[in-house]
């Protein structure tokens, strides 16, 4: 009986060990801790690859189809709140969500399960009676975190943070209280 229990415990340990992904664990560890004064939740960790943790297997609670952070311009990374993020998949199924005061947005998998490729655009305000929008230059084929490809500084494998307008365009005072 004792030997059977020991064997079962060993098998359970082996099962747990074989499910861990050291590459993913390292990537999460490299993100560092929470920013002081910002609790875990929709406002935390702007600009980080959200789905690294929020992929349904933890440590984040939610399972995101897409998530990211939108900034005002391609200059200094000032978050853009109240922007609409619109997605459309290869079947023509659309989904819209809005950014919060940290510029963050997320789409739950339970709300939207697209068939790739997916196209994205950001819409904010109106100029000359026309909504101002920024269309993503290429479709998304599988990555669900914006920040995996959109990180600073721009370079040969990063297109920089997600933004609405060119650097220098003024925006109203913004940010979280």
């Amino acid at each position: 009986m004792t030997r059977t229990l020991a064997l079962l415990a060993a098998l359970a340990l082996l099962g747990t060990a074989s499910c861990s992904d050291p590459v993913r664990d390292d990537a999460i560890a490299r993100l560092g801790g929470e920013q002081p004064g910002v609790p875990e939740g929709p406002l935390h960790r702007p600009g980080q690859p959200c789905v690294l943790c929020h992929d349904g297997s933890g440590p984040g609670d939610s399972d995101f189809a897409f998530a990211g952070t939108v900034y005002q311009t391609d200059g200094p990374p000032i978050p853009l709140s109240g922007a609409i993020v619109r997605l459309i998949d290869s079947r023509g199924v659309k989904y819209e969500t809005a950014t919060n005061c940290a510029g963050n947005f997320s789409v739950q998998k339970t709300d939207y399960e697209p068939v790739f490729p997916v196209w994205a655009k950001v819409i904010y305000g109106v100029a000359g009676g026309v909504p101002v929008e920024q269309v993503m230059g290429s479709p998304i084929y599988r990555e669900r975190s914006c920040a995996t490809c959109h990180f600073d500084p721009k370079g040969r494998e990063s297109t920089g943070h997600v933004f609405l307008a060119p650097a220098g365009v003024p925006f109203p005072e913004d940010g979280c209280p």
Partner: protein, 177 residues
Amino acid sequence: MSLSSAWMRARAAVLFVAPLLGACEGPSAEATFAGAAPSSDTYPPVGTALEIRCGTLDCHGSSARNLRLYGINGVRLDPLGITGDQSTTAEELLASYASVISIQPEVLAKIVADGGQRPERWLLITKGRGTEGHKGETRMVEGDDTDRCITSWLLGAVDVPRCEAAALLLPPGGDEF
């Protein structure tokens, strides 16, 4: 031992040993593999189609992939280049060509020697068609524009209109989604 049974044993021994001897034979020390691939001159329309279909940052437009497609939608060849900025260069197309033809070069050489027949032997085709495990899932269907573009290239007569159609990838309904 009768003559016939001795003969039978000798025959059995030969039948058993001969295949083993054959299995130990390999190419001679001087033998070299001479690859054969469609000409790089014929690659640009194929490369343009592959670039938007497979070469985004989240897929093969990444230095982390064995099949590496350089260009505006993915990793840049120039270490100082910026993805998303500036069009794909001739050098990048050539580097992508080199990467494409280095996928299973022996198989590719056989297909080329066979006049492009049975392209489904090649990994690029099986992965793209989703008949083999592919993290990017099925990206083309036999006979569609992308598939026809690549297979016509293997046949030695690139179907340029089909390549151009494959390279024109827009969201359902166009950019006005």
